[in-house]
């Protein structure tokens, strides 16, 4: 075959891939079954407390089976979620923290890579139809792993980020960072939704004020 044919094959392949990316990120992410495999990421410093307050309102019969991801050095979150779930069927996966408080940055590179690999494995094993996060550091690789898998078409997953009750006037750094990879950012305060003083900082259509649900 001539080099021209190869070129056009390559172009077609890339166009198909881009179409796939577009399709998944526009509407294909919505799960269609009546029971939703739910995955939630826990985290110290109030994240688990807020997550449980949200989950209390969720219909457990529809959102099942449920799995949780927590940092390995955060036994408090695990015990909180176990007492919330009681005897119900659920799984807790432990992952290494990307960087411990006070850990030097050059070693953080390795722990971060390890943390990403663990997150990829956990997400692959669970294949959640919905991923619910509220901002702990541990959620970043989990969201990215989910986004990559669903973009490649391995499974459908809707990714929802609920902003913390503490964030009143602006979105947190993790929310802004993960914005391209999530389907929805929900805020508990009206004022958290950024105003649009200029076109450049137009709030994303993904950001939604849901009211004081906590």
């Amino acid at each position: 075959m001539s080099s021209g044919t190869w070129f056009w094959l390559l172009v077609c392949g890339m166009v198909l891939f881009l179409l796939r990316v577009l399709m998944v990120s526009v509407q294909g992410a919505k799960p269609r079954t009546a029971r939703i495999r739910l995955m939630c990421v826990l985290g110290s410093g109030g994240h688990t407390t807020e997550m449980i307050r949200l989950l209390r309102q969720v219909d457990k019969a529809r959102f099942t089976p449920r799995s949780y991801v927590a940092a390995r050095d955060d036994p408090m979150s695990v015990s909180k979620i176990r007492s919330f779930e009681g005897l119900e069927d659920m799984k807790v996966h432990l992952v290494t923290r990307a960087r411990h408080v006070g850990q030097p940055y050059y070693t953080a590179l390795f722990t971060s890579l390890w943390c990403c690999m663990e997150s990829v494995v956990v997400v692959w094993r669970e294949k959640p139809a919905m991923l619910l996060v509220n901002g702990p550091g541990t959620c970043v690789p989990v969201v990215l792993a989910c986004w990559v898998f669903r973009t490649l078409g391995f499974f459908r997953c809707r990714i929802v980020y609920v902003e913390s009750f503490c964030r009143v006037r602006s979105l947190s750094l993790s929310a802004r960072m993960l914005m391209p990879f999530v389907d929805r950012v929900m805020t508990l305060w009206k004022t958290t939704v950024p105003d649009a003083p200029s076109r450049a900082s137009q709030p994303s259509a993904k950001v939604q004020y849901i009211g004081p649900v906590l």
Partner: protein
């Protein structure tokens, strides 16, 4: 000023610093004038959860009977037993006190940098669901004037209950999942 006629006898205060320490807040509360003001408003018992910090130094002749604990596994029970909660600005604590519709004075810790506590207490002040103060010094200011304190506490109770939950998160998530 005499105690208000509708004050119920044996009112209880729960003070909580959270899981770490907030000594500056407790230092304000040990002021004899402030304790006298609280007594005047009808409070006669106080439980102080002092966390990893030192217990509060109770002044001689303190008009309130004070019990001190470092941590509690019965946080919810402590909140529900109280008529007034004075605490640090932790989100978990604020939400718990809201659940029980208790009067709440929320104190920011200025030694914690970059944590949006000020924004949060500002929002609470605007909602009138709690009295938020930016620092222990501001707490002292609030609690030193008896008339002011009584009025602020009364105003807080009057608007409580407004702006309650509209939609449950469960419904919102079902929507998001395409189940509704």
């Amino acid at each position: 000023m005499s105690p208000s006629p509708c004050a119920t006898p044996h009112m209880h205060i729960f003070v909580s610093v959270g899981t770490t320490r907030f000594d500056a807040m407790l230092e304000v509360l040990q002021d004899p004038q402030i304790l006298a003001n609280l007594k005047e408003l009808g409070y006669d018992t106080m439980t102080i959860q002092h966390g990893k910090g030192d217990p509060m130094e109770v002044p001689e002749g303190c008009p309130l009977s004070i019990q001190q604990i470092s941590m509690t596994s019965q946080f919810e029970r402590e909140v529900s037993a109280a008529d007034l909660v004075i605490s640090h600005a932790g989100a978990g604590t604020i939400l718990e006190v809201r659940d029980h519709s208790k009067k709440h004075i929320v104190v920011c810790n200025p030694s914690l940098m970059n944590n949006h506590q000020l924004e949060l207490v500002d929002a609470l002040n605007k909602e009138h669901t709690a009295i938020g103060v930016a620092s222990p010094e501001e707490l002292r200011e609030l609690m030193s004037g008896l008339g002011n304190l009584a009025l602020r506490i009364q105003l807080m109770s009057r608007v409580r209950g407004e702006g309650s939950k509209v939609r449950s998160f469960g419904t919102i998530l079902m929507h998001e999942a395409g189940l509704i």
